[in-house]
């Protein structure tokens, strides 16, 4: 009976619909071997820094990452001075001051990333009626996760013949409905990497996807390393409990 339950449990897991990349697209995602996958997964800090550069020079024109503070950049290897310099390029509205007036000041480390638009209405006005979603959680908020984002960035093609395209839309085979309002955001050499890495469009897509995986799950490294320790402890404990249980129950024979 135990076996039957086990099989049923496995059946439940493998037929679980959220599991099977149930994105509305019928095309298989491009699967990447991400360094943050697996139980020992870690972020590649150099890649995250390159990805941050791509985000700030390309994506940030339209997309915010409002759950991230400038200070969080410390996690991906920036020093306090570097972060202050990065934050200093943005302005935030603060106040009211003692005179009761609102004022603008340079962003500080403790501020959240400044969003590209003041509000959703302006964002829509600037983007043909479409609201560019916040990217902080995008990797967790899409079936397929990082592979989906990577595929989407590389999924632009010309419209097939007989496709009823809407005005101002672009063809992307990974996007639900295949039409997306965002034009292909990346191309070779659209950014120049500080570490000399060649900025091919594949490299750019990979780095920015890694960066967005970090913004979605900044706790990932701590979580996985704590998880390994916890499992190690629990398995050891359970083996010992098995020994104790057998010894105690021997009394009954």
């Amino acid at each position: 009976m135990l076996n039957k339950i086990l099989y049923l449990f496995l059946f439940l897991i493998f037929t679980h619909p959220h599991n099977a990349g149930s994105a509305s697209s019928d095309v298989d995602l491009i699967e990447q071997n991400w360094p943050f996958n697996g139980i020992f997964g870690r972020f590649d800090k150099a890649s995250l820094q390159r990805g941050f550069k791509v985000y700030s020079e390309v994506c940030a024109a339209c997309h915010g990452i409002r759950h991230i503070s400038y200070r969080d950049l410390g996690d991906i290897g920036y020093s306090a001075d570097e972060i202050k310099a990065i934050a200093g390029e943005y302005e935030v509205i603060d106040g009211p001051n003692d005179e009761g007036d609102m004022f603008t000041r340079d962003a500080k480390m403790s501020d959240k990333f400044v969003e590209p638009y003041e509000n959703e209405k302006i964002a829509r006005l600037a983007n043909n009626g479409v609201y560019p979603p916040d990217l902080s959680l995008i990797v967790k908020a899409r079936a397929g996760g990082a592979d989906y984002i990577y595929s989407l960035l590389n999924g632009y093609k010309d419209f097939p013949e007989n496709f009823e395209a809407s005005e101002g839309m672009y063809y992307n085979e990974y996007y639900p409905g295949k039409q997306i309002a965002m034009p292909s955001p990346i191309m070779d050499e659209i950014v120049e990497f500080d570490d000399g890495t060649e900025a091919t469009h594949l490299q750019i897509a990979r780095d920015v996807t890694s960066f967005l995986a970090w913004t979605a799950e900044p706790e990932l490294e701590v979580r996985k390393s704590l998880g390994v320790k916890t499992l190690f402890f629990l398995i050891l404990l359970t083996i010992m409990l098995l020994g104790v249980k057998r010894k105690v129950w021997k009394n009954l024979d």
Binding site: H16, R223, G227, L231, L234, T238, K245, V248
Partner: protein, 419 residues
């Protein structure tokens, strides 16, 4: 307290004489005579209790940081995930704890169903369990609304709207539940209050569940009554250590989910903030509601669907009177056993079809599965009660244990009696 003939010395005795908590613990957790043949399926009761404690502790800590306001609920959860010390751990334990709780409780229920644990004299014990299940479902449903993501909002909208199916009072009930004319801030804030309240109601019913359990003691795989002292062993150390071992295995699975696949059982859409103007492509409830969701959608008539969905849980209350066969354990009921496994598979089919779009072949599958779900309780069980012959039962729990040891097959089944 007069049974203590001689006055005992010592601090614990002093207390125990005035407030017999140590006698109580001794009676219910130490000497407590327990059938000696319980298998690992009897671990799931204590696991459910432990999970309830884990959920309450993590829940209270989360509530210190969470804000039940539609403007900032989503962001307050993200703040817990990012800026609260170990907040991600608390939230992932709580989130996956809900799934683990249902896995444990469903196995606990299926165990009762297999070994006839709902039969005389444990009917009230069983019914209290069904009350716990109902409270859990309500609590889990409202908890899922709190992060105020897309699935939170639309799940709440779909489920609360079900009540509008009732004639005349339907719309009134829905407005009453919402506290307004749509799922909005008043809905979120009352769901939060109730989500915090109901678990303590569950604790109360669990206490009654345990009182009822200890009245006659645990059922066992043979389903036979305890006949002599030789059939039982003291709870401690035998079942305490066995429960600890089960807990170890359980925590490994639980930790695996929390640390390495925390969002595996969730829906990605719930990381998109709630947007009343944009409906998700597929609105699906959490996995533990999928079988009931399938029953709801199997019926073309909305009211009938709603009634059947509720009936699917409520029917469990009547189990002790639907199955009146005198043999408890399915181990000695060859026919019931076959229908039982079919019923289990059927529950998985319902869960699977509940996640599929309600169209084409899926509708047909869900209807057949719904028919079997109710047929099992309303037709098969009463008929088997009347007509199922069973092999001769072992004379006692001890006899069954011994025959199992020397012969792995079930006790000789050639001799049958007719009911």
């Amino acid at each position: 307290m007069k049974d203590n003939k001689t006055e005992k010395k010592g601090f614990t005795n002093w207390i125990d004489e005035r407030l017999p908590i140590f006698t109580f613990i001794n009676h219910n957790l130490r000497d407590y005579p327990t059938p000696k043949n319980l298998n690992y399926f009897w671990n799931f009761g204590s696991l459910a209790g432990i999970t309830l404690v884990i959920m309450i502790v993590t829940g209270i800590l989360l509530a210190m940081q969470y804000t039940a306001n539609t403007e900032i609920a989503f962001d307050s959860v993200e703040r817990i995930m990012r800026d609260v010390n170990n907040g991600w751990l608390l939230r992932y334990i709580h989130m996956n704890g809900a799934s683990m709780f249902f896995i444990i409780v469903y196995i606990h229920i299926f165990r009762g169903l297999y070994y006839g644990s709902y039969k005389y004299p444990r009917e009230i014990l069983w019914m209290l369990g069904v009350v716990i299940l109902l409270l859990m479902m309500a609590t889990a449903f409202m908890g899922y609304v709190l992060p105020w993501g897309q699935m939170s909002f639309w799940g709440a909208t779909v489920i609360t709207n079900l009540f509008s199916a009732f004639p005349i009072i339907g719309d009134y009930i829905v407005t009453f539940l919402w506290g307004g004319f749509s799922v909005d801030n008043p809905t979120l804030s009352r769901f939060f209050v109730l989500h915090y309240l109901l678990p303590f109601a569950i604790v109360g019913v669990v206490a009654l569940h345990l009182v009822a359990l200890h009245q006659f003691g645990s059922n066992n795989p043979t389903g036979l009554d305890v006949k002599s002292e030789g059939d039982t062993i003291p709870f401690h150390p035998y079942y305490t250590v066995k429960d600890y071992l089960g807990l170890g295995v359980y925590l490994i699975v639980f930790a695996g989910l929390v640390f390495f696949a925390p969002n595996f059982l969730g829906h990605p859409d719930n990381y998109i903030p709630a947007n009343p103007l944009q409906t998700p492509a597929h609105i699906v409830p959490e996995w533990y509601f999928l079988p009931f969701y399938a029953i709801l959608r199997a019926v073309p008539d909305k009211l009938l669907g709603v009634l059947l969905m509720f009936a699917a849980v409520l029917i469990l209350f009547f189990l002790p009177w639907l199955d009146r066969h005198r043999v408890r354990s399915a181990n000695f009921r060859p026919f019931y056993r076959q229908f039982y496994w079919l019923f289990i598979i059927n529950c998985f089919v319902l869960g699977w079809v509940g996640a599929m779009p309600a169209e084409g072949i899926y509708v047909l599958i869900s209807r057949v599965a719904t028919l079997y779900y109710f047929g099992f309780f309303l037709i098969i069980m009463p008929l088997l009660s009347k007509f199922e012959n069973t092999p001769a039962l072992p004379s006692s729990i001890s006899a069954a244990v011994i025959s199992e040891k020397f012969d792995s097959k079930e006790p000789a089944g050639s001799e049958t009696y007719v009911k």
